[in-house]
């Protein structure tokens, strides 16, 4: 088995799985760079939170918009893309028992991504590209800004092609038998969506770049919005796919979870591939020039079939954990399995909190705000970042943190210091992000705009502003953002010290985070499909969903009539 050259592979001392040394090098490189961009984005984040907290209002306006540009790009694009390429390389090599397809391609992809990201950051921080992440036309940035984004996209695409190449040689060399593992299947779904996403990026960014050079006419702003969001929103669906794969991966590593019916999980991934690319419409729901029928069909991902996919994963992930815990003897009541879950394991707690925040806050708000008419109450208000900080940060970033708590000991072969601090870190981050998301959502419900330096409108010829209650929610946002920043900083400090100064664990198994031991005297059996606790949890989710959804329709009735 395996298609490795004899000196290009090692056996993991913890899991016994093969690790391709070339892939390992690039997983490390991409991982380190991802965390560097995460830190840049985080420093911008705290300064932004302290500016939008009206009592503090820290930054001057030019630096507010500059750092907002930097925050969006470093967090949403660079941190996540760098880590996703690392995840792809891991899945296609270790889990398929294969070597990486091409070392040369991995270098080219990595260098293009790095150069592109540096170009973008340079133009932003030198103040020549204050256009925010979306860079809506006719706003004009420095040409190097667009070129940098193109380079990052091309570099990522090369990484994705390297992933597909590895799938090919693994199949050809018969390094595994039968179907690929579920996590690889999920990663493949993410990679397919990534290709479509990055092609949209090329279609929109190349003419924008040539326009910025003065070579061609300005593209149409409405066209730009449609195609840019084919890049901007769809890339978030790459994140969703990657995050769900990480949920399955970490659930297995921490509790031995195994989905009862993989056909269900895989079908859900296929639904993502088929329908999720319609989501560009979420950003055009109150735009001129796009018909209502087009908006309804696309915003609902064709009758919400991609939402159905998330709801399926939302069941199968906790159900697989419940089944594994019950098989180990934690059978008491509905939630005995949950109470005795390894809550002191930062990998597990990060993933479970990610699941809860993504489902209960991010998912419910996302579908509701993406309802065509309800979007009238939400477009460009703080409700929108209130939603996506619960999906991308509370969901994806938190899940990726949980993953890194395993990547460092298993791939970097270094141990974490201050393990007690690591155990509470996911909770600090989750509480902060949840508070921040609530603050943003409630302030946004009063109409507070997103991406806005001064919601007091100081100096405007015609007065405008918000009441004291709304200011309180902006304060909650500021407090939540500060707590989340502290949680993030702890994570980065712990990870950086572990990677560079941590004790090596070469030649032995990693020091385990809290593991789940079977209850004494239990004969561990095969997990079953009896998961009543999960059923109760998802019913609570559905009821919360319906209440929030119809409360928004109720609020819509109270505004002026419009058509």
């Amino acid at each position: 088995m395996g298609n490795f050259e004899s000196n290009a592979v090692r056996k993991c001392d913890t899991t016994g799985l093969p690790v391709c040394l070339t892939a390992q090098k690039f997983i490390r490189l991409h991982g380190v760079l991802a965390v560097v961009f995460l830190l840049v984005g985080a420093i911008a984040a705290i300064l932004l939170a302290l500016t939008r907290w009206p009592k503090i209002h820290l930054l001057p306006q030019d630096w507010y918009y500059r750092l907002l540009t930097a925050h969006g790009l470093n967090m949403l694009i660079f941190w996540i893309l760098f880590l996703e390429v690392a995840i792809l390389y891991f899945c296609c090599t270790t889990l398929l028992n294969s070597r990486l397809f091409s070392k040369g391609m991995a270098w080219v992809g990595f260098c293009l991504m790095l150069v592109g990201a540096l170009m973008v950051n340079y133009t932003v921080f030198t103040g020549t590209s204050d256009v925010l992440m979306t860079a809506y036309l006719p706003l004009k940035a420095h040409p190097a800004f667009y070129l940098g984004i193109i380079l990052v996209a091309v570099g990522t695409l090369i990484g994705v092609i390297n992933f597909f190449g590895t799938l090919y040689i693994a199949k050809r060399d018969k390094t595994y038998e039968g179907s690929v593992p579920l996590v690889v299947f999920g990663a493949t779904a993410a990679a397919i969506i990534a290709v479509v996403t990055l092609l949209h990026g090329a279609v929109v960014m190349i003419p924008t770049f040539t326009w910025s050079m003065g070579w061609t006419a300005q593209p149409d702003p409405a066209w730009y919005r449609l195609i840019w969001w084919g890049l901007g929103h769809m890339s978030q669906q790459v994140n969703v796919c990657a995050m769900v794969s990480v949920w399955y991966l970490i659930a297995t590593l921490t509790t031995g979870a195994r989905p009862h019916n993989e056909a269900v999980c895989r079908t859900a991934f296929v639904l993502y591939i088929l329908f999720i690319n319609l989501a560009s419409a979420h950003h055009l729901l109150v735009d001129p020039g796009v018909s209502a029928g087009w908006k309804i069909w696309n915003t609902s991902y064709a009758m919400y079939l991609a939402v159905l996919a998330s709801m399926m994963h939302g069941f199968t992930v906790p159900a697989s954990i419940e089944a594994a815990m019950r098989a180990k003897g934690y059978v008491k009541g509905l939630f005995g399995w949950l109470v005795h879950a390894p809550w002191k394991n930062p990998g597990f707690s990060a993933v479970f909190l990610s699941l809860v925040i993504f489902g209960f806050i991010g998912g419910i708000t996302g579908v509701t705000l993406g309802t065509q008419q309800i979007n009238i109450l939400a477009h460009n208000t703080l409700r929108i970042p209130g939603h996506f900080h619960a999906t991308v940060v509370g969901g994806t970033t938190l899940a990726f943190m949980g993953l890194i708590y395993y990547v460092v000991p298993l791939i970097f072969q270094r141990e974490y210091y201050a393990r007690g601090l690591a155990m509470i870190q996911p909770y600090i981050f989750a509480i902060g992000i949840t508070l921040m998301s609530f603050g943003m959502s409630f302030a946004g419900s009063a109409g507070v705009p997103r991406r806005h330096w001064d919601a007091e409108f100081t100096g405007a010829p015609l007065a405008a502003g918000f009441d004291a209650g709304t200011h309180l929610w902006l304060g909650v946002m500021g407090v939540g953002g500060t707590i989340a920043f502290i949680g993030l900083l702890i994570f980065i400090l712990l990870t950086v010290t572990a990677v560079f100064f941590g004790k090596s664990n070469k030649g032995r198994a990693m020091t385990p985070w809290a593991a789940v031991e079977p209850v004494a005297g239990t004969v561990v059996e095969e997990p079953t499909d009896k998961t009543p606790g999960t059923m109760v949890l998802v019913i609570i989710l559905l009821v919360s969903f319906a209440v929030y959804y119809f409360a928004n329709w109720k609020a819509l009735v109270d505004v002026w009539h419009v058509r």
Binding site: Y65, L95, P138, L139, Y176, G178, P181, L182, P221, L249, A257, R258, N261, A263, V264, L284, V286, P288, G289, S291, A292, K295, M303, Y304, L308, F315, S320, V367, T371, Q372, Q373, N375, A378, H379, T381, S445, A446, G447, P449, R450, H452, W453, F457, T458, P461, L462, A464, D529, K530, T531, T534, M535, V538, L542, V557, V559, W560, H561, V562, R563
Partner: protein
């Protein structure tokens, strides 16, 4: 295990709780989908996206004519304009102002033409909290009926440069 090759025969229909949940989810998805066409049929708040191609020059000219013919007053140097009930009104977004101030009657319906003559802007009516996107080159027609009296502000909620937070406007409803 999710990280290992699945056993043969893994492709099978869902059973038990999983099956129930997928059924419930599908029903819920269809309910949410049907709500949107239903609201276009019965509801009073919809975004139809009605729009016409225009240019900054043509739209500026139309706004100027609208202000000259129907101006009824002035506030902070900005004209207040009262369109005929049932008629057309014009609102121009520019860096950094909504121009002019509109004076409307409660319960009357107006075709409000909104466009930008420079960057993209966001029409956000406060404290009602209604939001629509405004693009240069497109005349976005909002057929609106104010349902409450009072003074309302319009702010801009799409980033339009360094003076974005100065960009306000006003609608008076009597």
């Amino acid at each position: 295990m999710s990280i290992h090759v699945p056993e043969k025969g893994w492709f099978k229909a869902p059973t038990g709780g999983e099956r129930v949940w997928i059924g419930l989810s599908l029903v819920w998805c269809l309910i949410m989908f049907m709500m949107m066409p239903y609201w276009h049929y019965r509801g009073k708040q919809n975004s139809t996206g009605e729009a016409y191609r225009t240019t900054p020059e043509a739209f500026t000219e139309r706004v100027t004519r609208f202000v000259e013919t129907l101006k009824v007053g002035e506030e902070a140097g900005i004209p207040i304009v009262e369109p005929a009930p049932g008629g057309d009104a014009y609102l121009m977004g520019r860096m950094w102002q909504w121009y002019p101030i509109l004076k409307l009657k409660k319960g009357q319906t107006y075709r409000i033409h909104v466009s930008s003559v420079d960057l993209q802007h966001g029409f956000s009516l406060l404290p009602v909290n209604m939001n629509f996107h405004v693009l240069p080159g497109l005349d976005h027609v909002l057929t609106m009926t104010p349902t409450m009296e009072g003074d309302y502000s319009i702010i801009c909620n799409e980033f339009c440069g360094i003076g974005h937070h100065f960009m306000t406007g006003k609608i008076i409803v009597e």
